[in-house]
């Protein structure tokens, strides 16, 4: 270990040196695990920022263990590392960095310390990611937020819309992508933002695929449920799902498809029967919470249907129509809906009458015009991106090659491919 320490100390100053250092470290990487006992000592002697690269390898070697005598120590070490490391050094061996992050979260979850990982990981993302680019750390970060129930911390990252992908720079794997969107959907669900949740689950489901992944499957099931919660309509399978897996998805999710069908029929009893039939499945999949929310939602949807047809209504009529036990229950639901802004109405308690109003939003304030402007800008930006993408593809030599061949073949002249 002495040798290693010295090499690290010597070769960490210039870029050239660091390259050599990296090669060396890669070579001896496996052997490092043999010196577990000494790693702590060595690491203590290395200031993190200056010697980030070497420190990282040592730390990663330690983190690859399955068990720790002193888990708090390793967690502290990683935390400090993430906060203080030097991005330029670390990005030379980005795979190790991600490995470290993954172990960080895994250990923390086991030790019930997930909340402590949220902030360091956030810093980590800022350090190594280009803005808007998806990295594996994003997925781990979301995982940590989810594990610690710290949903709002994830919001800034989620809302910054990371959709760029560059595998060479980030070493991203498809699993990380799936996880990012799956976790994202779960977090939005936790925040009760069902619209965005549905969107993220949909993204997870529409990722190009030859074969079914369990992450995608779970995402699909939740997609069905959150979709109902946000729009009140039973959803169809997302249009752009890979053809080969569409059939498989539906087949394996029968309890959910049936539930969606029951919801579509707007029949409260039928929904109840469906739930009791498949209760075990829902509990096993841990989707039972969502299912219950959806059933609640059915009542609200029915009330909303009533707003469409009536201007005034008696509370008694509502409770009758929806098979409720009393007018109080109807009143309770309505109050909740009015507060949530799902319905515009006022209740005359003395008469037991409800009056529905039209949507009072006049769309004539400054706020609205600012909002519109912002959205227009966004759309222009996106359209530009699309144009760029289109240009890139159409000027790609391979593509042009293919198109030319196609045309020539179509014209009846046979040409041999010239390379």
């Amino acid at each position: 270990m002495e040798k290693v320490l010295n090499i690290i100390l010597q070769y960490s100053d210039t870029k050239e040196e660091r390259k050599q250092l990296k090669n060396y470290l890669d070579k001896i990487d496996e052997q490092l695990t043999n010196f577990i006992g000494q790693l702590d000592l060595v690491m203590k002697q290395l200031p993190v920022t200056k010697y980030s690269l070497g420190y990282m390898y040592l730390l990663a070697a330690k983190a690859s263990l399955k068990r720790f005598q002193n888990p708090e120590l390793i967690l502290m070490q990683i935390q400090t590392f993430l906060l203080q490391c030097d991005p330029s050094q670390v990005s030379m061996s980005i795979g190790k960095f991600f490995f470290l992050c993954r172990r960080f979260v895994a250990i923390a979850i086991r030790e019930k310390f997930a909340h402590g990982t949220v902030y360091p990981l956030k810093i980590a993302i800022e350090k190594i990611g280009r803005s808007g680019e998806l990295t594996p750390t994003h997925a781990y970060f979301l995982q940590a937020c989810l594990a610690s129930q710290n949903f709002s911390a994830a919001l800034p990252i989620l809302e910054s819309d990371v959709f760029e992908i560059d595998t060479k720079h980030s070493g991203l794997k498809i699993k990380d992508v799936l996880l990012y969107f799956y976790y994202g959907g779960m977090i939005y669900t936790g925040l009760k933002k069902y619209d965005e949740a549905t969107y993220y689950f949909e993204l997870a489901v529409t990722i190009p695929a030859d074969t079914l992944s369990s992450i995608m499957l779970e995402a699909y099931r939740r997609y069905l449920l959150t979709s109902i919660l946000s729009t009140g309509k039973a959803p169809l399978i997302p249009q752009n799902t890979s053809m080969s897996i569409q059939g498989m998805l539906k087949k394996v999710s029968k309890p959910y498809e049936e539930f969606v069908e029951a919801f579509r029929s707007m029949d409260i009893e039928r929904v109840g029967i469906c739930i009791s039939t498949y209760m075990e499945v829902y509990e096993k999949d841990k989707t039972f919470g969502l299912i219950k929310l959806v059933r609640d939602n059915l009542v609200r949807r029915k009330i909303q249907r009533l707003t469409k047809t009536y201007i005034t209504l008696s509370l008694e009529y509502v409770s009758q129509q929806l098979n409720m036990n009393s007018t109080q229950e109807a009143e309770f639901y309505l109050l909740d809906m009015i507060e949530q802004g799902e319905v515009f109405a006022s209740i005359d308690q003395k008469e037991g009458q409800i009056s529905f109003h039209a949507d009072p939003e006049p769309y004539d304030s400054v706020r609205v015009s600012l909002e519109l402007n912002g959205k227009i800008q966004e759309v222009i930006g996106l359209a530009k991106n699309l144009d760029l993408l289109d240009e890139k593809i159409s000027t790609n030599s391979n593509f042009i090659h293919k198109m030319v061949i196609k045309e020539l073949q179509g014209g009846g002249n046979k040409t041999e491919e010239n390379d």
Partner: protein, 524 residues
């Protein structure tokens, strides 16, 4: 006869076995689907299952049904027959319906079929209809049908209860001798290579079998007759005979193919038979529930010529079907153009004055008279063999249209008046209206306290804003998803089947997936 029955039952048994096989296959597939989740494992399992199923199928077909299976299948066939048994239509008063009037216009086998239909649907008319049916069936050679009906309804029939053995014997003898004559005629024509003779011989044999009730053979001979001639008129006649046969046997594919053949031949020629062919077109649309198309086809069927083909439909039918279907599917403009201003169709509508009155009343918004007329004509429509199954559905549609038209000029409307005009109670009309509103067919809102229906003034401005915002949101989402997918594909990232080796880096999706799943489930 019993041999034929046996063959029929055996065929049914074959069908039943295949259905049993299909069922077991389906159950197995479902089972395998619910259990497995992993990728490769799933694929492997279903492949193995499929092989197993193929083996099973092969075995089954070789062995043939066991005794127990036969028993089970017989039971199922009987149950199914019992379920399909036609029942009386309840809740409608058929006393205003006059059988003799109705059946007068028809000729041939359709009299028999329609009478049987009426006997099975209307309790009051059952006896009379059955008696008339037996009269008709004795005009044919269809001994089997005669037997079947007499046995089935023996408790209803009084005088005709016992089988008329004399008639049966006579018919058998008669059939045998007629058959011989026809066979010889056909043979002679073939020997002399007399095309017209061959055609005629085949047609005669077709008629013969048609009269016996052997529809399959009849179709066979009609088809041969069609092949044997080049004269378009004769071809069309053969097709019509075949269509008639197919209609009795309810074989829609045959009707369709012969209709196509006939129409092709008579495309440019102004034949008298064009009318009936178009009517049959309408009939096919009716059976596939394309009501609007059917309406058009019936209305334009006769054209300028006189319509004559009482062996399937009468001109009264054209008036009724055309009028009824257009009432259910046309809007005001279409009604005016196709019916009220249609010279040719008007003549047919005049043949059924009740239908004509209903349509006029609807158009002129005399709702009370309209509703009354509609109710009055219902029994007659319900007892028509081809229209009966669609009547309820179309009635609901017509009523909906009436309500919507009734409300259209108003800004506010007292629902009590509406209820009286439509002949129902306040509660019922409220339910009907609220259903229409919920289905977006009526733009209005109900004030339940005062029982008033308000027309909605849609705030266009607000609506526009909402639409724009939602469209924008949609676009942003779709484009982002598109860019994401494009990026993934560019970087060659897709969900692939895992490689068999387990790698430390966690590149094996299957293995890591399970671990991750456990982790994920930890915090749900």
């Amino acid at each position: 006869m019993s041999q034929e029955n046996k063959i029929e039952i055996e065929k049914e048994i074959e069908i039943e076995i295949d259905k049993e096989n299909e069922k077991t296959i389906e159950i197995e597939k479902e089972g395998s689907g619910e259990e497995s989740k992993g990728e490769e494992e799933n694929e492997k399992k279903t492949e193995k299952e499929k092989e197993k199923e193929k083996e099973k199928e092969g075995e089954e077909k070789k062995k043939g049904p066991t005794k127990e299976q036969l028993e089970q299948i017989k039971k199922k066939v009987q149950e199914r027959e019992a379920a399909n048994e036609p029942k009386f239509i309840k809740g409608v008063d058929f006393s205003s319906f006059d059988i003799e009037d109705y059946i007068e216009g028809y000729q041939g086998h359709t009299r028999m079929d329609r009478l049987l239909f009426i006997a099975q649907r209307s309790e009051i008319h059952q006896q009379k209809a059955l008696k008339m049916f037996i009269e008709e069936v004795k005009k044919t050679r269809n001994i089997q049908k005669y037997r079947k009906i007499v046995e089935k309804y023996s408790d209803v029939l009084q005088d005709e209860k016992t089988l008329d053995q004399k008639w049966i014997d006579k018919t058998l003898k008669d059939s045998a001798s007629t058959y011989d004559i026809l066979e010889t005629n056909l043979k002679k024509a073939k020997e002399n290579v007399n095309q017209e003779g061959i055609r005629d011989g085949n047609v005669q044999l077709g008629h013969f079998y048609f009269g016996k009730g052997d529809l399959k053979s009849a179709l066979k001979y009609y088809s041969r007759a069609k092949e044997a001639t080049g004269d378009p008129i004769e071809i069309v006649n053969c097709c019509l005979a075949a269509i008639k046969t197919a209609m009795e046997g309810k074989s829609y594919s045959h009707i369709s193919s012969y209709l196509n053949a006939a129409q092709k031949k008579s495309e440019d020629l102004e034949l008298e038979t064009n009318g009936i062919l178009r009517t049959i077109n309408g009939f096919l649309s009716l059976t596939s529930r394309e009501f609007k198309t059917a309406a058009h086809q019936f209305i334009h069927a006769p054209g300028k010529k006189v319509f004559e083909y009482p062996e399937i439909f009468t001109s009264l039918d054209i008036g009724i079907y055309g009028g009824f279907l257009s009432l259910a599917t046309f809007n005001r403009r279409e009604l005016k153009r196709n019916i009220l201003d249609n010279e040719y169709f008007k003549n047919y509508l005049e043949l059924v004055p009740e239908m004509r009155d209903i349509i006029y009343n609807f158009y002129e918004s005399n709702y009370a008279a309209f509703v009354e007329g509609l109710e009055k004509i219902k029994p007659q429509l319900l007892l028509d063999q081809y229209l009966s199954s669609h009547v309820e559905r179309l009635y609901i549609r017509i009523r909906e249209k009436a309500i919507i038209q009734y409300f259209s000029p108003y800004l506010t409307l007292d629902m009590k008046k509406m209820a009286t005009d439509f002949g129902t109670t306040l509660e019922l009309i409220e339910i009907e209206v609220s259903n229409l509103i919920a289905e977006d067919k009526l733009a209005g809102k109900i004030d339940q306290k005062n029982k008033i229906l308000y027309g909605t003034r849609i705030n266009k401005r607000s609506q526009t804003f909402q639409e724009v915002l939602s469209f924008g949101k949609d676009y942003r989402r779709k484009t982002r998803a598109l860019l994401l997918r494009a990026n993934l594909i560019q970087n060659k990232m897709t969900v692939k089947r895992p490689r068999k080796k387990l790698m430390m880096g966690g590149e094996n999706m299957n293995f890591m997936n399970m671990q991750l799943l456990n982790l994920m489930r930890g915090f749900n």
